[in-house]
């Protein structure tokens, strides 16, 4: 026989103002199964909890309903109180008579009635609650970091320095990411490579980090604490063990005019190449598409030149399998192609470039050795126009969001341009200057006030070529004047989007992706580095456009989540997960199709002799998030949710309908 | 206490009421005002461009003259106060222009002080009577001298521009929410109304150039004062007084969209409260005669 205790909270005046608490108490006291009903001013206070604990002991309660605020607020508080005196915490439930009742109604009488109903149906549920035990999942204390930009580097170093092994996977031949392409960083104008390369080297030399460049994650299986990852290590055609990075092969390669990806097409590279001098690892890779040997046989000059015999044209892609307990996604961003703007030339003008290309023009190690020269004719640039919000904040182009970093890097570009070309003039078209970081606003004002950069508030309508100049036709909405600028170079601050292939990777992991292709965090405010999938964390611009300090902070945040997970031998998870009744399951696997977390597996049932009797669904407790999608999909009610079983739900419903 | 006193052109002529009440009040408060012997116009406004020297000559001449009397020079007119104080600052801060001014004054040697040893480095400080009352005399002392408290009279203090701005150079009071006149008025027993337009511009010298524009500025201020039920407006500047007075007269003549709010100098109100004879007050000089209002208030 159930012995339920009901505890009604006034929440100061929050509930008591609108709900007649005494009336609720008296009504519940008469409810079948309720042996104890009290009200109190602040149930969450120490004396309030004391009331509950004493009642459990004295009245030998088998279940507790606390009628107060949202369970989000205080469920753990009251469950802990129950557990302290030996009542299984899952026998304690909360009826929300604040957010769902007193805060949203004004009619005292009706609100009181509703409050009584709310408590009543939870009493009916609690009568049917069963004690549950938290699920414990063992943890493999080894992490995978996907992406070797600054986010991945930072996360990998933090985890490795915490004493755990990390596998860092990067799909390019070198780590470094976009940060390696930058000239200097805002607002301090630190040299980007100077602050990044020591970290890259540290990754390479760290005993706890296993670095896999030119590699991609092929598949992910398993669940939090127990992932099994397949990684494709693409053939470099260079033996990494033997190569010393002397570069003789590169010198010899006859294919010298291949557009360099690292220089974003502004520079050239060979078919066997190292993307940039500071690359880590400093080992070349052969680009099959352009290599004369792979295209039509012959050549092999690099092979002949290599003093160590490191060139291996027969190398094959390798598939590696690694077991890890946690995954950090740090896959970064790309810029949208600027050719989607046909009014800006649609990619026809060589002197209309994007922000990363301008970084390469500014970079001392870039294709022009840091001189700002026009890509079309190599002439020095005297007049440059920067256009922000190209693609960003453009509903018509399907990108309503702000790319966040452009305001700052445009200011930086303009300043650096002025530093390089003293008699040059820089113009910036902007819509708003969003400089909400430490020292950011001051930096932008410096561009305007000290460096003489002219800011024009408005969008550019058209760019066209005339007499060897680019004519930029815009407007300054501040003065209301249409403006025309004959420029030598135009730099578009194109919108940031998540890297290519991120959607596919997210699907392999079951991590949700937002409408713009960025990875979704578990909660925008309170869980910004976690994903909906336990054990998978986010760092950097794969989640949203971000600058370097934000990226590094998030990477360290993700690493700390991993480390705190690794600090335990097993992870405790909520036991409110789905459970299959193997007796009635017919193995149709509708549930598997419905499950967004890929938590449902196939389980073979065998007799004692080992003969297969049937195949049923099995819920992987490590993956199940207790969403209940499977319970709805199951045709013969063979899946039920612990703590929210059909029986419990129906009891609640009939309590309502009976009323 | 002894102060050098610079009345300025307007106080010596068209704003006599201001001058005579101030002198009367000073006497009552034991302030000895020594009028500069041979003063001339200060120029009305200080030039604001960085290479101007000409406009500094007149104010510096006045300040240099004051040196011989006291290290403090008191003025009443907001224009003179602003001009002298800011010109003095230029002399203190801009060595190049100081040299030019001093050299010029030495060369011309007009009045006797400017002999071959003439120097001036900005050592005279320019003060306004309000400052003297607040910092040296104290409003409590003022209160003690009141024989006819202006109890229940709703007064709106009006500061205008030049008494307060630019704040970094003038620094008399908070430029947006000044209180010095409020404190004084309270000491006189008035009920001070919270006047939202107390630091708004009255149209200033535009009265001679584009009177219709100045009129509109003044009208806004007057309407606002009448709206909040002020019975008197109190000002520190002869030009503000005139603009508001003149415009008020026109408004009253045309359609009477406002109730009359006589515009007085703060010294007139002080003298009234301290028991001055009517001939001292000089109410007869006003365009909108304050006497009916004052009488109605039982004063």
């Amino acid at each position: 026989m159930a012995r339920i205790g009901v505890f009604i909270c006034h929440c100061g005046e929050n509930i008591a103002r609108t709900v007649d608490v005494a009336k609720v108490r008296d009504a519940l006291a008469k409810h079948p199964g309720v042996v104890h009903a009290v009200d109190y001013r602040y149930m969450c206070s120490a004396p309030g909890q004391e009331l509950i604990r004493n009642a459990i002991v004295e009245k030998k309660l088998t279940g507790v309903v606390v009628a107060a605020c949202s369970p989000h607020m205080h469920e753990p508080t009251f469950r802990k109180a129950c557990a302290a005196v030996g009542l299984n915490p899952y026998l304690c439930e909360m009826a929300n008579i604040r957010e769902h009742c007193s805060w949203v109604h004004s009619d005292r009488e009706k609100a009181t009635e509703k409050a009584i109903e709310l408590v009543r149906f939870l009493v009916e549920k609690v009568k049917r609650n069963r004690p549950l035990e938290p699920i414990r999942v063992p943890v493999t204390k080894r992490a995978l970091v996907v992406g070797g930009g600054i986010a991945g580097i930072q996360a990998a170093l933090d985890i490795a320095n915490g004493g755990y092994e990390v596998i860092l996977v990067e799909r390019q031949p070198s780590i470094g990411g976009h940060m390696a392409q930058l000239s200097e960083t805002f607002p301090t104008l630190d040299c980007s490579q100077c602050i990044l390369t020591p970290k890259m080297v540290e990754v390479r030399q760290h005993p706890n980090i296993k670095l896999l460049t030119y590699s991609e994650v092929e598949d992910v299986k398993g669940y939090v604490g127990n992932f099994e990852v397949t990684i494709r290590k693409k053939a470099r055609y260079v033996n990494e063990e033997v190569c010393t990075g002397c570069g003789a092969c590169i010198q010899r390669c006859p294919q010298k005019r291949i557009p360099s990806e690292f220089d974003r097409g502004l520079g050239r590279r060979t078919a066997i190449y190292i993307p940039f001098p500071q690359a880590v690892p400093n080992i070349p890779v052969i680009d099959r598409e352009h290599c004369a040997y792979f295209r039509r046989g012959g050549c092999r000059l690099c092979e002949k030149e290599c003093p160590r015999g490191a060139i291996d044209f027969n190398q094959q892609d390798q598939l590696l399998t690694e077991k890890v307990g946690a995954i950090v996604l740090a896959t970064g961003y790309d810029l949208i192609p600027s050719d989607i703007y046909s009014e800006y030339g649609g990619g026809r003008y060589r002197d209309v470039i994007d922000g990363l290309q301008f970084e390469r023009l500014l970079s001392a190690s870039g294709p022009t050795n840091g001189e700002v020269l026009r890509p079309s004719d190599g002439k020095e640039v005297k007049s440059v126009v920067f256009i922000s919000c190209v693609g960003s904040r453009d509903r018509a182009k399907g990108i309503p969001y702000c790319s966040k970093i452009c305001c700052m890097y445009v200011a930086k570009h303009a300043i650096l341009f002025k530093h390089k070309v003293h008699d040059g003039q820089a113009f910036v078209f902007y819509m708003d200057v969003r400089a909400a970081g430490k020292g950011y606003e001051e930096f932008v004002r410096r561009a305007v006030e000290e460096e003489g950069v002219v800011y024009l508030r408005g969008r550019v309508s058209k760019i066209y070529q005339q007499d060897g100049k680019l004519i930029v036709r815009g407007v300054d909405t501040l003065s209301g004047m249409p403006v025309e600028i004959p420029a030598d170079l135009v730099v578009l601050a194109t919108a940031i989007r998540a890297s290519d292939g991120i959607v596919e990777l997210a699907q392999k992991l079951g991590v949700p992706v937002d409408e713009h292709g960025f990875l979704s965090e578990a909660h925008p405010k309170l869980r910004p580095v976690e994903t909906q999938v336990a054990g998978v964390f986010l760092a950097g611009a794969c989640q949203a456009p971000k600058d370097i300090p934000d990226t590094v902070a998030q990477a360290s945040g993700a690493a700390s989540k991993v480390l705190s997970m690794f600090a335990q031998d097993a992870i405790e998870r909520e036991p409110t997960i789905a459970k299959v009744n193997e007796q009635t399951c017919v193995g149709c696997f509708e549930c598997q199709r419905a499950c967004p977390y890929r938590a449902i597996e196939r389980k073979e049932i065998r007799d004692r002799q080992g003969n297969l009797i049937k195949v049923v669904a099995y819920v992987n407790p490590g993956l199940c998030a207790g969403c209940g999608a499977c319970t709805v999909a199951c045709r013969n009610h063979s899946v039920d949710l612990e703590g929210f079983a059909e029986e419990q739900m129906f009891a609640e419903l009939s309590a309502i309908t009976a009323a | 206490m002894r102060l050098a006193y610079y009345p300025g052109c307007t106080l010596a002529s068209k704003a006599k009421a201001f001058d005579q009440t101030a002198r009367w009040v000073a006497q009552k408060l034991d302030i000895e005002l020594v009028e500069l012997p041979e003063w001339q116009c200060c120029g009305g406004l200080v030039p604001q461009v960085t290479d101007a020297v000409m406009g500094l000559l007149a104010p510096i001449r006045i300040l240099a003259d004051a040196q011989t009397i006291s290290d403090k020079l008191m003025t009443l007119c907001s224009f003179c106060y602003n001009t002298l104080k800011r010109a003095n600052l230029v002399i203190q801060q801009d060595a190049e222009r100081r040299q030019k001014v001093v050299d010029f004054l030495r060369e011309t040697r007009a009045p006797k002080v400017f002999d071959e040893n003439f120097q001036y480095d900005g050592s005279v400080s320019v003060v306004h009577l309000l400052e003297v009352l607040r910092d040296d005399i104290g409003f409590d002392n003022v209160r003690q001298k009141v024989v006819r408290p202006l109890t229940g009279v709703r007064v709106a203090p009006y500061y205008g521009c030049l008494l307060l701005r630019p704040p970094k150079e003038i620094g008399l009071d908070d430029p947006e929410e000044p209180t010095v006149m409020e404190q004084l008025l309270e000491a006189l027993g008035c009920e001070v109304v919270d006047f939202p337009r107390k630091v708004e511009c009255c149209g200033s010298f535009m009265i001679v150039n584009r009177p219709e524009i100045a009129a509109q500025c003044s009208a806004t201020i007057l309407k606002s004062a009448s709206q909040i039920g002020a019975q008197l407006l109190v000002t520190t500047c002869p030009l503000c007084q005139f603009n508001l007075d003149w415009q008020q007269m026109r408004m009253l003549e045309s359609n009477g969209e406002i109730t009359p709010v006589p515009v007085l100098y703060f010294t007139q109100l002080m003298a009234l409260a301290m028991g001055a004879e009517p001939f001292v007050l000089g109410f007869e000089h006003h365009l909108v005669d304050p006497r009916p209002a004052v009488m109605e208030l039982g004063l």
Binding site: D423 | C9, Q48, M206, P211
Partner: protein, 136 residues
């Protein structure tokens, strides 16, 4: 509305640097928040508001600024200077604009003949100030 053709020549014009020098203000410090115009007591009468004058100067459009009546309506009440969040003394900029024009012999004081009763009454400091501001 004609299109402005911007070039470094326009922006490095001598007039601009003269205005900066005479006023002691950095024209580019203005970030167009408009607080000066919001508080300008003469704004209602001027063809351009103070922040618009600042913007035109930033774009090197001195011709348009010199054609405007606004600088001649400024009475240097310094409300703008007092409230400017960037500490720009717009009144000084206005004075510089006037000064340059005056020095080039382009005065703009319209000598006003007040009605007789006004002549008798108007304080002489108004006349003195007007001449100081509006003539050389």
């Amino acid at each position: 509305m004609t299109t402005v053709r911007l070039s470094s020549r326009r922006l490095s014009s001598e007039i601009l640097s003269e205005i900066e020098e005479l006023s002691g203000q950095n024209l580019y410090a203005c970030y167009q928040c408009g607080k000066c115009s919001a508080g300008c007591p003469l704004g209602f009468a001027a063809d351009l508001l103070p922040h618009q004058i600042m913007r035109l100067l930033q774009l090197g459009m001195t011709k348009e600024v010199f054609a405007s009546q606004a600088p001649w309506l400024c009475v240097a009440c310094m409300t703008c200077a007092t409230r400017c969040p960037k500490g720009v003394d717009v009144a000084k900029v206005m004075e510089a604009i006037r000064t340059i024009q005056l020095r080039e012999g382009r005065g703009a004081l319209q000598v006003f003949l007040p009605p007789a009763e006004l002549v008798a009454e108007v304080p002489q400091l108004a006349t003195v100030s007007a001449f100081r501001k509006l003539s050389l």
